[in-house]
């Protein structure tokens, strides 16, 4: 299915990068403000879905650069791996471990395995959604 609309295409040209940026933003603040992997994954998917409707799924796939099914696998794998450090630390699987990443005086952020887990969720949700949408678009 293809919608040939100049308005939509023009709109998407500006909206697409904005939505992607928004999804990254919403992902990063997810631990402390509304947001997180699920939501960010959905917003990013919406961005690509819009893009594919305005042009077509082949172009959208090219922009994405990664096979959507691979994205599911990578996401699940990252989520799984984020649970492993805890095992080596003698805790039970998926226990959160935290540390600091800092350049003294410049910035200091907390980083921990749950962030990694959330990245896995983000990628998996995005992979699933886009796999479904692209596949639906591509049926003849």
């Amino acid at each position: 299915m293809k919608i040939d609309s100049l308005i939509l295409r023009t709109m998407v040209r500006y909206l697409f990068p904005l939505l992607l940026l928004f999804s990254v933003f919403i992902f990063l603040r997810g631990h402390n403000e509304p947001g997180g992997g699920f939501i960010a994954g959905l917003v990013a998917s919406a961005a690509y879905a819009l893009y594919s409707i305005a042009s077509n799924s082949i172009e959208a796939r090219q922009v994405l650069g990664v096979d959507t099914r691979l994205l599911i696998g990578i996401g699940l794998l990252i989520a799984l791996c984020s649970g492993l450090p805890a095992i080596f630390a003698g805790e039970s699987f998926l226990t959160g471990l935290w540390g600091y990443l800092s350049i003294p005086g410049v910035f200091k952020i907390e980083i921990g395995t749950p962030v990694l887990f959330d990245i896995g969720v983000f990628l998996a949700v995005m992979g699933v959604t886009l796999t479904i949408i692209f596949a639906l678009e591509e049926v003849e």
Binding site: N32, P34, F38, L42, V125, V128, T129, L136, V139
Partner: protein
């Protein structure tokens, strides 16, 4: 507000179930989606409504201030929303595949498709 929402939930359930009982496959799909709205709202309402604060600890605070909305049902519903999206997508794909294979969306005509399919395969 609880009473109002109780009726909204009842209405959503009734609409969803009515659509799921139709013979047309496409209507069933709409019914399925309505039903998941109903279920999510049911959990949300049953776990108490409050207009008080979000379950988010302010940047300048060390603990959540009372009163706050219960975060646990929210986490449950969040996963439920995403899962029902997956279910809906799967149902849509399944319906598409079914329609392409047997060229009808009348559920009453799908009763014996297993057998018909088998005989076709063995005769081929």
């Amino acid at each position: 507000m609880e009473i109002v929402l109780a009726f909204v939930i009842g209405g959503l359930y009734a609409a969803g179930i009515y659509m799921m009982l139709r013979r047309s496959l496409v209507k069933l799909l709409i019914g399925l989606a309505l039903l998941s709205h109903a279920a999510n709202l049911l959990i949300f309402t049953a776990a108490r409504l409050t207009r008080a604060g979000f379950p988010i600890i302010g940047m300048d605070q060390q603990a959540l201030e009372l009163p706050y909305a219960d975060p646990l049902p929210q986490a449950l519903i969040l996963t439920a929303i995403v899962i029902s999206f997956g279910v809906t997508a799967f149902a849509l794909a399944l319906s598409y595949r079914t329609y392409k294979s047997i060229h009808t969306d009348d559920l009453d005509k799908m009763k014996t498709t297993d057998e018909a399919d088998d005989s076709k395969e063995t005769s081929a």
